[in-house]
């Protein structure tokens, strides 16, 4: 049963379908072991934006207040999606990198473990 309703074949409307975002789509990002940002962020992005530009122009303003941000060696950063490793190509678009509407990605920065090495 997909819903307990008064009449049969009740269908709900998908409130957050991609078509409701005026050409944009949602992308969620979390920085592992950096709980100064208490939760993952939700971004409205254009699917044809390059992944590298997304990091520089969308993620940076969110995360750069953390002292670790400036120290990140981007060649060592690892990305994850649905519990599996994910290797984005910075020169390709979000769409080409397979990031569909409402994709959630996480990144880890080896050697950078937050304030005082405490995961903050």
């Amino acid at each position: 049963m997909t819903v307990n309703a008064l009449y049969p074949d009740y269908q709900g409307k998908v409130r957050d379908a991609e078509s409701n975002f005026h050409g944009g789509r949602l992308l969620y990002v979390a920085w592992n072991r950096h709980l100064m940002f208490t939760n993952p962020f939700a971004y409205l992005v254009q699917p044809d934006m390059k992944f590298g530009d997304f990091v520089k122009t969308v993620m940076a303003p969110s995360f750069e207040t953390h002292p670790d941000w400036a120290k990140i060696d981007w060649t060592k950063v690892t990305w994850h999606r649905k519990g599996e490793s994910f290797a984005p190509d910075c020169s390709k678009t979000l769409k080409e990198n397979g990031l569909a509407h409402k994709a959630a990605i996480q990144f880890s920065t080896p050697g950078l473990d937050g304030i005082g090495g405490l995961g903050i």
Binding site: Y10, F37, N39, P40, Y43, S62, A104, L118
Partner: protein, 507 residues
């Protein structure tokens, strides 16, 4: 000389409900009570419903009128004597801002639900009980608004609770909880509100807010609490009666009710994170810690309740073990998130004082100094250097509880917990297994959830900038939000306390 014998309460109740349960003839009963069967609950004999109170309308009016007279006499005295000057500290009022913004209109929503049940139940006993509870709930909403209106003259954040409840992003947590219950069938509504909420969890709202008010000198709220207490006792009794009635009517009801207990325990528990945060961080004078309250009211009292219900075949709600694992982190994760979204809140946030942090270290010996104090200390340093943390990036929300996904893995408090699932080609995200399971139980319902973050991005919330969205949400930017330090509340409070001290000296 003949005297008319006065009727006893039991006799009055019998006369009041006499003949209310007639069999309709113009229309079939199933059409008159269309909500009775679609949930799968089987009722064979409505007369087995025991109303433990047998309260008649005239008795009900009399009790409530008497309570109202007392309540309003005390509120008048409180207002005339500037009762707000006797509270422990102006930071305290933020806890009652949260109450007014998040709970008062939830009481109103409970009223709406019981009005519906008061019409839709086929049995007379539950119909009368629902009607009376509907009156209680609307009375609670009204008396809360009246009790707190005095504070609106002196403090920020009390002025626009109606609009905020509908629009302010984090208030979608209580709003969506009640709307989930209101859009369920009547038996699920009773399991959700009367049993899971009123019976299992209500102590965890009333005790912290009302004792918190008493400890912090807020006589207006204390008086309202006393006035509501006898109603709450009645609601709790009804909550247990509901479960027993359904369980005894048919064994096929048991698995359905158990599924609702699992769902509504978890939904209620998630909503209570706001209370956890209030208890540990927002009360200048603490009553007890969230962890202690959870042990006393849920682990012990709730544990005994479910042992008792085992004779019907019920077990503890699913993921109760996760709530126990989370008790040392629940309030800390929530307050950190609210602090860091302090520019987008309808109340003030702050870094706790060093004495308060000592209290937390004592109450949370296995978590506070390891995980949460270092973060607060860092933010404190930043704030003192003029760089107060105000996060401007919108949070990812859980599809079911609508809380930002700030919860951590049950077995690792340093790792954010994230669950996702697909339904009809769309992806959905959750804060926990508990919320993910609820979604999977009724996906056609939750795909419709109105998540504030997504609504902002869809352009439905007054504009694209944070300031526009806040204005649309009913926030007076620069007055209701931001840190307590430097707020109007803080400045006024210090001025009033200084004045009072001078007046005392002169006298």
């Amino acid at each position: 000389m003949s005297t008319t014998k006065k009727l006893g309460l039991r006799e009055k109740y019998r006369l009041m409900t006499r003949g209310l349960g007639w069999e309709t003839t113009y229309q079939p009963m199933d059409k008159v009570f269309p909500y009775q069967s679609f949930e799968g609950i089987k009722i064979h004999d409505w007369d087995k419903w025991e109303d433990p109170f047998r309260l008649t309308m005239d008795a009900y009016w009399k009790y409530q009128a008497e309570k109202d007279r007392k309540l309003y006499a005390i509120l008048d005295a409180f207002n005339q004597h500037n009762g707000h000057l006797n509270i422990s500290d102006a930071r305290y009022v933020n806890s009652i801002k949260l109450f007014l913004q998040g709970i008062t209109l939830s009481e109103y929503n409970a009223h709406r639900g019981f009005v519906h049940l008061g019409r839709q139940f086929r049995g007379v006993g539950p119909r009368v009980a629902s009607q009376m509870q509907a009156l209680d709930e609307i009375r609670h909403a009204q008396t809360q608004i009246h009790a707190l209106s005095h504070y609106n003259k002196y403090f920020s954040g009390f002025h626009g609770f109606q609009g905020m409840y509908d629009r302010l992003w984090y208030l979608s947590v209580p709003k969506s909880y009640f709307e989930d219950a209101l859009t369920a069938g009547p038996f699920e509504f009773l399991t959700a509100i009367s049993f899971s909420f009123e019976y299992v969890l209500t102590n965890l709202i009333f005790m912290p807010f009302m004792s918190g008010a008493a400890y912090n000198g807020d006589m207006a709220t204390v008086t309202f609490g006393f006035s509501a207490q006898s109603d709450e006792a009645r609601h709790m009794t009804m909550g247990l009666e509901v479960i027993k009635f359904m369980a005894e009517q048919d064994p096929d009801n048991i698995p359905i009710i158990q599924r609702w207990m699992d769902k509504w325990f978890w939904r209620g528990y998630r909503m209570l994170v706001l209370v956890a945060m209030m208890m540990d961080y927002m009360l200048p004078k603490k009553v007890m810690s969230w962890s202690e309250a959870w042990e006393m009211y849920f682990e012990q009292a709730g544990g005994a309740l479910f042992e008792d219900l085992a004779r019907y075949g019920f077990r503890m709600p699913k993921y109760a073990d996760v709530s126990v694992k989370e008790k040392d982190r629940y309030s800390h994760e929530a307050w950190a998130a609210l602090y860091h979204y302090g520019a987008a809140a309808g109340l003030h946030t702050w870094i706790p004082t060093s004495e308060e942090m000592e209290w937390m270290a004592e109450k949370y010996p296995n978590s506070f100094e390891q995980f949460y104090k270092p973060r607060l200390d860092y933010w404190d340093e930043q704030q003192k250097a003029g760089k107060r943390m105000y996060c401007a990036s919108l949070p990812q929300l859980c599809q079911v509880c609508q809380i930002p996904a700030w919860f951590t893995e049950p077995d690792d408090p340093t790792q954010l917990c994230h669950r996702e699932t697909e339904y009809k080609g769309e992806t959905y995200h959750f804060c926990s297994d508990g919320c993910c399971d609820i979604f999977k139980g009724e996906p056609e319902k939750y795909i419709q959830a109105r998540l504030p973050t997504h609504q902002i991005y869809q352009g439905n919330c007054g504009g694209a900038s944070i300031e526009e969205v806040l204005k649309w949400s009913g926030i007076e930017v620069g007055h209701d939000n931001l840190d307590y330090l430097g707020s109007d509340d803080q400045k006024n409070w210090e001025r009033w306390k200084h004045q009072t001290a001078v007046e005392k000296k002169i006298a």
